[in-house]
Structure formats: C-alpha cells, structure tokens
Symmetry: C2
Subunit: 324 residues, 2 copies
C-alpha cells in the first residue's frame, strides 16, 4: 500500500467520477472560529466517496476474472459504489446489504442493476455469506475498506483535497474524516503525507461507536460493544481494518467523536449555508469541525462530507429540529 | 449589451465566485426520457446565480462612486448577491426587501453586512422607494435584472454551461432557465449564441405567473395579474424587462410553465438523486426538464437550478410529500 497505488487509481478513474467541490461559507467559519472547507463527497457519483474505491477495485481486476462479476457487502454506500463501477464496466454485481439499511440505499443499489441479498446485521456472519456466494458463482469479493485497491481509490479524495486547498490558499490544516473501517481515512492520510505534508488526517466517529478513536489511543485494535442504535449507519463498523489501522496509527492525529444530535445540527447547517444534502454518518466530520473547536488546531479545518444518501423522513426531522 | 460585456464580467469575477458543477444522475435521465444535466447555481456563493450579476455590477462602478455604496431591491437572492459583492469590495449596501421574503434570505442578507429595509410587495412602489434612498445617500442603484452589467454577470453562467456541456460530450441541447425578469435567461441566451450555437435557451416560470411565456408568444411585453400566491417567490416579477425582453424574443424558444407541485417534486428528486438543495423558484427548470418531455426536443436537456435559499419548513414539506 503506497502513494503510487493512489496515483494509479486516479489514472484509472479519469473523468468517470467527479472532482467534487470544496465548499465554504462565512457563517460556518463564524461558528467554528476558523476557516472551514467542506470536501463535498455527497456530490460524488452514487452520492458518496465509495464510488472511488469501487471504481478503483473493479478496474484493477484482470479482465478475465472481472467478467464473472463482483460481490460486496455494505450498509449501502459501498454497495452503490461497487454496483456503479460494475455497471460501467459491464459486469454483474451481487450486493449483500443489512436488512436495516436505509431504503433509499437499497433502492438505489437495485436501480444500478445489482442483485441485492439482504442479511441480518446482528445475527448473520456477512463475511461467511459473502465468501460462499463468491465461490459459488466465481465472483470477486470487494471488501468495503480492508482492501488495498479500495484504499487507493478512497485516497484519490486526498489528492484532490491537497490541490483544492492549495488553490484556496490553505496549505496547513487538520483534515477531519468520517470514519467507519478506515478506508477513506487511511487513503486520505497517505495522499496528504505525499502531497500536503502540513496537513494531518483525523478520524471522526459517532459517540458510543468510537472503535477507531479508542484503537488510536491504545495503539491496538479495539471493537465496538454494539453495532445498532446510531443514526450514522454508514460508518458503524465492528473495528478498524488490519490494513487501515496501521496506516491511521502512523499518520493520524487523535480521533474525535460527536453525538447523533451534533451530526443532525451539522446536516441542518449544511442545508442552510452550503445547500448540500449530507447523511448523518457523512456529517460527523463537519460536526466536529463546528462543535469541537477546542480539540482542533490551526486557522483552517477541512471536513469531508462523505455521503448524502439519507431517507427523506430523517432529513426532514433534522431540518425541523435544527434548521429554524 | 453584447458578448464582450459577458466576457469582461467573467474577467472581473475571476476566482471570486464558483464555477458551479454540472450534475447528472441516470434516474433523472430515465424520468425525462433524455439526458438531463443540472447547472447547480444553488451551490454558487450566496446560494444563487445572483452573486454573478451583483459582482459584475458592483465591480463595474467607477471607484469614486462605488465608495458611497450601493442599493438594491429584491425578493432575496439579488439582495444577497449585491450584499456579498459590496462586502467583498468594502462598500456599504442597502437592500430593500419585501416583507414576505423567506426569513432565511432576510437573515442571510443581514449576515452579509447589508442594511435591510422592508417594504410591502402589494402596496409600496419599490422603484420610487429605492430611487429616494439612492439620491439621499448617493448610493448607486443596482437593478435586479434590467441592467446591462447585471445581465453580463448572469451571462457568465452561459459561458460555463457551454464549456461544461462540451466536456460532457453535449453540444446540442435546450437550456431551460428559471425566469423572473429575464436577466439570467437573456445573459445565458447571449452566451450560448456566441459559444454554443447549437444550444437554445428557454424560459420556465410558475403557472399563473407566466408573463414571459405570454410575452414571447405575443411578441409584446405582458404583465402578471397578481404577484403573490406562488411558492416560487424568487422568480415572480411583474413583467420582463425592457432590456431583457428583446434579447429573449430574439434568441429564446417558446416559454414553459410548471405547477408549484411539480417544482416541489423536482426539489425532492434533486434531494434524492443529486444531493443538492434547490428552492422552489430555482426548481422550475428541472421540473420542466423532467415533466414536460413532449415540449422539449433533442437527446439532452440542460436545466439551471438557479438558487437554493429555501426555508426549512417548506423544504421538509416538499420531502414529506414527494420524496418517499
């Protein structure tokens, strides 16, 4: 796993995906007490950064093998990323999704032509299920984060952040990243190490599901006690990955955590001041940028809005409670 | 009024404003029956294209005069555009706003440092009020649409559309524009005439407030019977401008009109498939692209999402009714 893999992923992605904008608004700067730049990956194709890892991984499979198809398990965004990449490469995709995934994500995955197989997040072993299906049909399993080509694809976000921040006059900043298994964070951290050495990635998680924060504190992989009960479904994973954790441990600052309510407040502020739709799990980095000023250093902070696939009722609820 | 003024406006704007993205999603293409590209001016600084006209006009005033300040009247988006340009140029701004303007727009205008003076849309003569204040304080009046430098600024949207559509492989398309007084439409129409002659601008208005559509049909300026009662507040104006109408009459195809409900459906679809926030008046062009397929020709259609400043309660209502 190295920076050349990230650069190669960017070459393969080319213009097939979007260079998402870096957005800002003085009202958010005022709340945070420093300049806030939002990398709007919610505007990415499929509505999240996962399109990058999906494209990188699918495009890296040798053509003979790729033709048989791919399989992935995901709470939704990785599903859509892989389904999109498979469709654009003309190969079949099977996606294992938890039964409690937001309906919009299940519907969107099916709309992308994938076959969706539902499993129970608490009782089923998704790894075993996936491996069995992969063997049966000759599918290539694309893991959601602990897979070098997926990390390389997510890392292209970091290459863009380095360029776009420089264009905006920012060369030194903490880069807050919504963190599940650590694919996006570790990819960005490696890209920044190479392209923006004055920037440092930091993870942000929902309070109560802060396995990465505790792992970074102790230097050893820690697990979450439970996996259900957060509205930030997109970034609740059992523990950081075997590949991603050593990268994060080497390169990232201390982890941060915010409450579900703070994530919803950040969603409402992005609605009003940036006019972008962010899902709860995609809003925790912005929430930390806005509501944890004392835990962040420097005159500018960059937050990654990792996704925008949120059910309308939950979004309307966030606006009604926090956007008045 | 000519293309060179639009190119000069783009030079003055430089990197002070955003080159907003051209977004798309296969789900919207499927609804429309053709490729749909959305020029997301809701992601522009201040949340609408009006930042372009504001910047163009304020930057074109000789410095000695500009120093005394500027004045504008507006239902909200022009207000923010002028307030932003004045603030960035370090000069005072007075904004006359109707009492029924969305609260978010009034608040945002004040947050941009402008002095807000409220008037009654039905009973006050806003032109007379503005002229009196301008004379009293030596302010330069910046009209919302019937002003060459404002049209030139809005026209920069058209230069970007021509470039970005070509990058996306589209050289022939109807370009649907949310239309109030016609500043954005006439500016885009002139830019397309010069830079993308296979594209044609068309106006979209709310049903019952289709003064421009009727004016284009008859070849003479027609007025709206009433000015209140549409949720598309941003684009309800008494009649097309004396400068904008001849340009639109020469260059635009027949006007289109959509219902308030169709505008809200388009807002909900943009939420789900593009993750951008569009206000009702900014969604009528997308609504026409999606729901008037028989009135549009060609294999691709470009819709301008002109703004994203919408009160949270109205937005939540649109999602609850149409995003399920």
């Amino acid at each position: 796993m190295n920076i050349e893999m990230i650069r190669a992923a960017r070459e393969r992605i080319g213009t097939n995906l979007r260079r998402t904008p870096l957005l800002s608004n003085p009202a958010l700067d005022a709340i945070a007490g420093r300049r806030v730049l939002l990398k709007a990956e919610c505007l990415q194709v499929t509505g999240s950064f996962k399109a990058r890892g999906g494209w990188s991984a699918v495009s890296a499979i040798p053509e003979d093998t790729r033709r048989r198809g791919v399989i992935a398990f995901s709470s939704g965004n990785h599903a859509q990323g892989v389904a999109h990449a498979a469709k654009m490469h003309g190969v079949p995709a099977v996606i294992l999704m938890p039964k409690d995934a937001p309906r919009a994500k299940v519907d969107n995955t099916r709309a992308l032509g994938a076959e969706v197989v539902l499993f129970d997040r608490e009782t089923d072993d998704r790894d075993a299920l996936g491996a069995a299906l992969a063997e049966e049909r000759g599918l290539t399993l694309i893991k959601p984060f602990d897979e070098p080509q997926v990390i390389a694809g997510q890392g292209t976000t970091g290459l863009e952040i380095a360029e776009q921040a420089a264009e905006a006059g920012v060369r030194e900043a903490e880069v807050l990243v919504c963190c599940g298994g650590g694919g996006l964070t570790s990819g960005i951290a490696m890209a920044l190490e190479a392209e923006a050495p004055m920037m440092r990635a930091r993870t942000v998680e929902p309070e109560g599901f802060d396995d990465v924060k505790r792992s970074l504190e102790t230097g050893e992989i820690r697990r979450n006690d439970r996996l259900g009960g957060s509205i930030c479904d997109a970034i609740v994973t059992p523990q950081p990955g075997d590949l991603t954790f050593p990268i994060m441990h080497r390169l990232c600052g201390p982890g941060l955590a915010v409450s579900d309510e703070e994530a919803m407040r950040a969603m409402a502020l992005a609605f009003r001041h940036l006019r972008v739709v962010i899902e709860p799990g995609g809003a925790v980095a912005l929430a930390a940028a806005l509501f944890r000023p004392e835990a962040i250093s420097g005159s500018a902070v960059i937050a990654v809005a990792s996704g925008g696939n949120v059910d309308a009722a939950l979004y309307a609820d966030a606006l009604e409670r926090f956007a008045s």
